[in-house]
């Protein structure tokens, strides 16, 4: 049995408070913005809005195995079962107010950044019509290779437009100092998150990436807030201690793996346990590494710095860049192999994985396995089939 990460209790409490506050925001005359996971939340926070992340909610629903039920509601309204399950869950919760937190509070404004996929564009259009609220669209051109200056300028200009729209929605003027403070907090939290992930380089790893899928919730939903900085400070401290004491996330760690794509939220326990049986730990993932910061947003023009960072995530990059990132992670975390989740919800993440896997093996000599499933719709998952594939792969790794 591995020793539990204590900070996890704090995480649960923090997320509960976050959702409770959000649910009451209306009663306190607050404004609620629904925002995509790659959305420029710092700017929204500068207007005092409460951000809500339907994707994070989708993950929570997935983890509690309620995804299939809510997806079915959307399907009953005519949405194809082939569409992203986060979207279907969102439609389902809006219709029924079912789910672990009995549905999301209704939005006053929607903020959509398409730096993760095209799905969110349609998703937010649909929800903007349902709730009859303004939709702020921040178009992020796909960066096939390096980040291009015209795209940075374009995104920055849209962020300035977004500020103007939020002034109208909230009746609050943009306070540059407040924005600066938020950007600072965001930067500090991201740096601490990166430090937390860095500790997974040590052998044995003090935390599994499967745990970090959950610990990333504050960096997604609460960046730009002091409590998030405090939370990651506590996590880093604990992980450093675990590292110093040689506490392993997986007893007898023998294999170190990279994970690619969003996890199958309903099956993380299965994944952890199956891997642990073979002494395998997931030590890095493209997903958790997506919330990083290559440009300090407190330096220079904040709109351009935000634009640059929000164009950079893994999922907004082309095949060649993805391959470089994967290879970099394999080396940096000294992985022996990799797991790819081919998630039928997410074409943006999954298309190309077969060739990425082959190319990655060619470049690094490490073998990988691809598991078919879905992010939050447990109906698209066959545990038996996944177990067979994974066991066969792990046995080969065992040698």
């Amino acid at each position: 049995m591995s020793i539990k990460i204590k900070t996890t209790d704090k995480l649960k409490e923090m997320m509960m408070v976050y959702y409770l506050t959000a649910k009451n925001a209306r009663h306190n005359n607050g404004k609620i913005a629904w925002i995509t996971s790659g959305g420029p939340v710092e700017l929204a926070l500068a207007f005092g809005v409460t951000p809500i992340y339907p994707e994070n909610h989708g993950a929570m629903v997935g983890a509690t195995k309620m995804g299939g039920q809510l997806c079915a509601v959307a399907e009953g309204l005519g949405y194809s079962p082939d569409l992203c399950s986060y979207f279907r869950i969102d439609v389902g919760q809006a219709e029924t107010h079912l789910g672990p937190i009995a549905g999301l509070p209704e939005p006053d404004v929607l903020i959509c950044a398409n730096n993760i996929c095209k799905t969110v564009i349609k998703w937010y259009e649909i929800q903007a019509r349902r709730y009859n609220v303004p939709l702020i669209m921040i178009d992020h051109p796909f960066m096939e290779h390096e980040i291009e200056e015209p795209a940075v300028k374009y995104v920055a200009a849209q962020l300035r437009d977004m500020a103007a729209t939020l002034e109208t929605v909230t009746g609050v003027k943009l306070d540059q100092d407040k924005l600066y403070q938020i950007l600072m907090l965001s930067r500090d939290a991201i740096k601490l998150w990166e430090r937390a992930l860095e500790t997974l380089r040590s052998k044995p790893t003090p935390m599994s990436s499967i745990d970090s899928f959950f610990h990333m919730a504050p960096i997604v939903t609460l960046r730009g807030e002091q409590r998030t900085v405090d939370y990651y400070q506590a996590l880093v401290t604990e992980l450093e201690e675990r590292k110093a004491q040689g506490i392993a996330a997986v007893e007898g760690e023998r294999h170190r793996l990279l994970f690619d794509n969003i996890p199958m939220w309903y099956a993380t326990k299965f994944l952890y346990q199956t891997l642990a049986k073979h002494g395998a730990a997931v030590v890095t993932s493209t997903y958790t590494a997506s919330w990083s910061m290559e440009r300090d947003m407190t330096e220079g023009d904040p709109f351009e710095a935000m634009a640059w960072n929000y164009l950079a995530p893994y999922i907004n990059r082309g095949f060649a860049k993805r391959l470089d990132i994967l290879e970099g992670l394999i080396h940096k975390f000294e992985c022996d192999g990799f797991l790819m989740h081919s998630a039928r919800s997410c074409k943006a993440y999954s298309l190309g994985q077969y060739d990425l896997a082959e190319a990655l093996t060619k470049r690094t000599g490490k073998q990988g396995v691809i598991l078919e499933g879905d992010i939050a719709d447990e109906r698209a998952w066959s545990e038996g089939q996944a177990a067979n594939r994974l066991e066969a792969y792990l046995e080969a790794l065992d040698g």
Binding site: K118, L135, M137, D139, A151, L323, R344, G352, D355
Partner: protein, 363 residues
């Protein structure tokens, strides 16, 4: 050979090289292929084909549409003689990721990508789009080994406009009445023409239109909605059931043919402006106009009293729009039917029966 046979031959062998021009496979849609034409390239817009995805299956998961897969099948099978491929990144996540995959699989070939803006209402969209058009002009110039002149771009815009005009005239015959050539063949001819956008296919389309006899149409008037109406055997089933296909809101159809670019002035600006004034499309974001009312108005325009959605399996953009369009059609009391298929499907009994039952209801 009759005009339509020449166009069918193109449709059947979209990969075949017929001259020395550089040959580029363009994935749908909204790629400003005028730039490729200006560079003297052959533009072949590939809308997917009925080929078994034997090789493509090793590169694509099961949940990717057959349009993308079959285009790659043509490339992977070695049947293709293309010098490169072009990807309009904004169409969907599948096409977006295909661009880099193509470069990986075919490192020696030219790969062009184009990022249509998804925030056309932003004041900065026009500037970005113009810059994107100019980037593409420079990249195609580097590929052909010389700078592309404005005069060449203007000439290419004229060529593409004439092609679209000819395509529109052909499609409008459907609105007028029952054509001597079945609707399936008309769309097949258009798919063939799109494999070589230019004066020769423009002429073939024009000759085909002139050769058609249009008689009175009876039965329900159906409008098709989707990216493509393929596999076209459904059109045959619709006509066999006594209905008339009066028009469409299809990517491989009216939608991409309906807007032209200005033939004078700065060509980069003309191309950008055309793209900023496209009709409603599942691949484009617009705050101002939802697609539902647009499809209703388009149905009225072609005089349709029924709509059939011809959706390709795993086509996210069309799948997202469907419930909203369906609601708008229901409100407007326009009966509608969703068919979801893939390019390899045959009009098996079940589909034909559904089409017949639907059309019978309308009477």
């Amino acid at each position: 050979m009759a005009e339509f046979e020449k166009l069918f031959a193109l449709a059947n062998a979209p990969y075949q090289r017929n001259d020395k021009r550089k040959f580029i496979a363009v994935f749908p849609m909204w790629f400003p292929y005028e730039i490729l034409l200006a560079g003297g390239c052959r533009v072949a817009e590939w809308w997917g084909y009925d080929v078994p995805p034997t090789l493509a299956d090793a590169h694509f998961p099961t949940y990717i549409c057959t349009l993308v897969k079959s285009n790659f099948e043509l490339l992977l099978s070695g049947r293709s003689e293309v010098d490169g491929a072009a990807f309009p990144i904004a169409t969907c996540d599948s096409i977006q990721n295909s661009a880099g995959l193509f470069s990986h699989l075919f490192p020696g070939k030219f790969a062009a990508y184009f990022r249509m803006v998804q925030n056309p209402d932003s004041a900065s969209a026009a500037d970005y789009l113009r810059a994107e058009v100019k980037r593409l002009i420079a990249e195609v110039g580097a590929f052909i080994g010389r700078k592309i002149a404005d005069a060449e771009l203007r000439a290419a815009i004229k060529t593409a406009n004439a092609f679209r005009q000819a395509a529109r005239e052909l499609l409008l015959t459907l609105k007028s009445g029952r054509t001597s050539l079945p609707a399936a063949q008309i769309y097949r001819a258009l798919r063939g023409a799109l494999t070589d956008v230019g004066p020769s296919t423009t002429k073939l389309l024009g000759d085909l239109t002139a050769s058609l006899k249009v008689g009175p149409a009876s039965g329900p008037r159906v409008m098709l909605v989707g990216m493509t109406a393929e596999p076209l055997d459904v059109l045959t089933a619709i006509e066999a059931a006594g209905a008339h296909i009066a028009g469409d809101d299809l990517g491989l159809g009216w939608r991409t043919m309906s807007v032209d670019a200005a033939e004078s002035g700065d060509p980069a600006e003309a191309l950008a402006q055309r793209l900023l004034h496209l009709p409603q499309c599942s691949s484009l974001h617009s705050q101002k106009q939802a697609r539902g009312p647009y499809v209703v108005s388009r149905a009225k325009e072609v005089g349709a009293n029924a709509v059939i959605f011809t959706r390709l399996k795993f086509c996210d953009p069309e799948a997202f729009d469907y419930p909203e369009i369906k609601c708008a059609l229901d409100d407007a009391k326009i009966p509608n039917l969703l068919l979801e298929r893939d390019l390899r499907d045959q009009a098996e009994g079940a589909v034909t029966t559904r089409v017949e039952a639907f059309l019978e209801q309308i009477g």
